[in-house]
């Protein structure tokens, strides 16, 4: 039980991967909280009805589920041992059964964790019960709630608190933030998109000397407030992404935070001068400067940050000159140089970064010769070359990258001849060949890549003959073939790809209802797109077995919103995104 609680606390600060976009419900969509299922509700539902085959529910789980069921019988759990009331509380939250009324039963229960982030309807009225947990309370999440200053102030005596999240709480003002200054035991504070974090509001942070994680993402008025962070010597993670009012003058207050390991500054208004304040942060392992107005001149400072494992310089103004400073960053595992002005001349400086696992060169001015310098980067798992001038000749330099799992060659100059050179990359799971030069011939050269799970041939000119290759890719989970040349005959080669969860066959104008019939056995499908085809209302019934379908797009087909709606109501309960609607 204790472990379950601490796991929750740990989750409050997200381990954000800089390369993955995280979808989060934001404050302006609060109304959606009432309509969207809780993230865990499906699991809980299953648990209540009996768990997955083979796994027997514990008596404890059965009792907790029973309490939830009969919640109207209970008005006071304060006599229960704390860990039990905590489990009941967590169950009510996860299943969405907690209401203001049932919350009352948890008065004075010595709960340690109150995780109500994104829970619908949380207001000041709830905070009295939250506060009644007193010194027991270690972790609180009221993100996306309507809690105001007075609600927050009720927590003032809960000074044991170690973790607090109040992201997207737009009713909290500068004045309300003063309450935070009493939480000197806080190690983790998340307060995303809060306009109250101003030069004045940030004063409350100065007392939080035990903070290890601080998340201030999207705080729009934070300029001038970082001065209050300068004494927070224990800080290891600081997220200020999209705080687009942060300027160079703010950066100087970070210069003594020498325990910082992770610093996220994407879309801040900082220049090379601002980066110079980071010179002494020798423990920095993750640095994200995406979209900042920096140039390659800042690499001189960055080259001194020898602990860097992840460096994101995407969408900066990096040119070749100065890139020699990247050479020493040998610990780097992930480097994002996408959307910069770099050419092949820059890549020579990457050749000794042998620990690189992830390299992004999206939309850079690089070509075949540059790839020669990547030859020795044998740890590479992911290589992004989309929208570059890389052609078939360059691919020979990649044939030794045996660990490569993902490569994006969309909108490159690569043609069919080049694909032979990557046909030996048997670790490949994800391959993007969205590119008009690719035809059936090229695809035929890749049938050895049987581990592929994601194949994007969006614009490639694949015909029905080419679809014969698909039977070699039995593990495919996503497939896009939208070159316009596929007919129902080609779809016959797709119908046995049972692992598919995403299938995009749009733009193939000759596909008919027969296609829907053929794919009706692909029951794992979550997303299906057959837009711009001859699919009609009378074919829709073939989709009934696709019970996992959440997204269906049939734009510019012979279907009507009414008929799709009927289908959804009759057979496809999970369908949440529909075109046309």
């Amino acid at each position: 039980m204790g472990s379950a609680c601490s796991r929750k606390r740990g989750q409050l600060v997200h381990e954000d991967d800089l390369y993955s976009a995280r979808f989060s419900k934001s404050g302006s969509f609060k109304w959606l909280l009432h309509t969207l299922p809780r993230s865990n509700s499906a699991d809980v539902h299953r648990r209540g009805q009996g768990p997955a085959p083979g796994r027997c529910p514990s008596l404890m789980e059965l009792c907790v589920a029973k309490v939830r069921e009969d919640m109207n019988r209970y008005s006071d759990f304060s006599q229960l041992p704390r860990d039990l009331s905590q489990q009941i509380f967590n169950e009510l939250v996860e299943s969405g059964y907690l209401t203001e009324a049932s919350l009352g039963a948890f008065h004075d229960c010595d709960l340690q964790d109150i995780c109500l982030g994104e829970y619908p309807g949380v207001t000041d009225a709830w905070m009295e019960v939250v506060a009644s947990q007193g010194q027991s309370l270690l972790s609180v999440d009221i993100s996306c709630s309507d809690v105001t200053d007075s609600g927050l102030n009720l927590l003032k005596d809960c000074s044991s608190m170690q973790s607090l999240a109040c992201d997207y709480c737009d009713r909290i003002s500068e004045h309300g933030l003063k309450t935070l200054s009493g939480f000197s035991n806080l190690t983790s504070l998340s307060i995303k998109k809060c306009a109250a974090v101003t030069a004045e509001g940030a004063k409350a942070f100065a007392n939080l000397v035990n903070l290890v994680n601080l998340d201030l993402e999207r705080c729009p008025k934070i300029h001038g407030g970082l001065v209050h962070l300068k004494g927070l010597k224990k800080l290891e993670k600081l997220n200020m992404r999209y705080c687009n009012c942060i300027t160079d003058s703010d950066m100087k207050y970070l210069s003594d935070l020498t325990n910082l390991r992770e610093l996220q500054l994407s879309s801040c208004k900082i220049s090379d001068f601002g980066v110079s304040y980071l010179r002494g942060l020798h423990k920095l392992a993750h640095l994200n400067l995406e979209g900042c107005a920096v140039t390659a001149a800042c690499l001189e400072v960055i080259s001194g940050l020898a602990s860097l494992v992840l460096l994101n310089l995407s969408r900066c103004g990096i040119c070749d000159e100065g890139c020699e400073n990247l050479e020493g960053l040998v610990k780097l595992k992930a480097l994002n140089l996408g959307f910069n002005h770099i050419t092949d001349a820059c890549l020579i400086h990457l050749k000794d970064l042998i620990n690189l696992e992830c390299l992004n060169l999206d939309s850079c001015k690089i070509g075949d010769e540059g790839l020669f310098h990547l030859k020795g980067l044998v740890q590479l798992k992911s290589l992004e070359l989309s929208d570059t001038e890389v052609g078939s000749n360059g691919l020979r330099h990649l044939s030794g990258l045996r660990n490569l799992q993902s490569i994006n060659l969309s909108f490159t100059l690569v043609t069919d001849i080049g694909l032979k050179k990557i046909s030996g990359l048997s670790s490949l799971k994800s391959l993007n060949l969205d590119n008009r030069q690719i035809t059936d011939t090229g695809l035929a050269a890749l049938t050895s890549l049987t581990g592929l799970t994601h194949l994007d041939l969006f614009g490639a000119r694949i015909t029905d003959a080419g679809t014969n290759c698909f039977r070699f890719f039995k593990n495919l989970q996503s497939l896009e073939v939208c070159g316009g040349l596929i007919t129902d005959a080609g779809v016959k080669n797709i119908k046995d790809l049972k692992a598919l969860t995403l299938l995009n066959l749009s733009q193939n104008g000759n596909l008919t209802d027969k296609t829907l019939e053929l794919i009706s056995g692909l029951t794992a499908l979550v997303s299906l797109n057959v837009s711009n085809s001859r699919v009609s209302n009378s074919g829709l019934h073939h989709l009934k077995p696709l019970q996992n379908l959440r997204s269906l797009s049939l734009e510019s087909c012979r279907v009507t919103p009414t008929e799709i709606k009927k289908l959804r109501l009759a057979a496809l309960p999970n369908l949440i995104s529909v075109r046309p609607e």
């Binding site: 039980m1 009996g50 083979g54 796994r55 027997c56 529910p57 514990s58 008596l59 404890m60 789980e61 059965l62 009792c63 907790v64 029973k66 309490v67 009969d70 019988r73 229960l80 041992p81 860990d83 039990l84």
Partner: protein
């Protein structure tokens, strides 16, 4: 050690060497005795530790365990759960395990103690 909620004893390969034969006597607060198969009792991690720890607990030798804090009607329910759980895991049981609202909290406390 097994986590809660994982499959009970008989599924673990190493258990085959363990002595799961015989019976064990569980005694409620009021002194009422329940004789259950050892295999069933070991659905509870707490009992399992008691019954399998080498030479540790006197309970192991005497083959009986006293629960001064668990009342008879709750202990009876727990014994029923042990057998329900065994049947469920072997696929023979598909119906829900019934819990009377009157005893839910008491049962929950006992389940917590017995780690089951």
């Amino acid at each position: 050690m097994m986590g809660k909620g994982e499959a009970p004893a008989p599924r673990e390969p190493e258990e085959e060497e363990e002595d799961t034969g015989g019976v064990v006597k569980l005694i409620s607060a009021e002194g009422f005795e329940f004789v259950v198969d050892k295999k069933a009792a070991m659905v509870s991690n707490t009992l399992r530790n008691m019954l399998t720890s080498p030479g540790g607990f006197s309970e192991t030798r005497q083959g009986e365990v006293r629960f001064p804090e668990i009342s008879t009607h709750v202990l009876e329910k727990i014994c029923q759960y042990f057998y329900w759980s065994l049947h469920y895991s072997s696929g023979k049981e598909t119906t829900e395990f019934p819990i009377e609202p009157e005893i839910t909290l008491e049962l929950m406390m006992a389940a917590n103690y017995l780690d089951t």
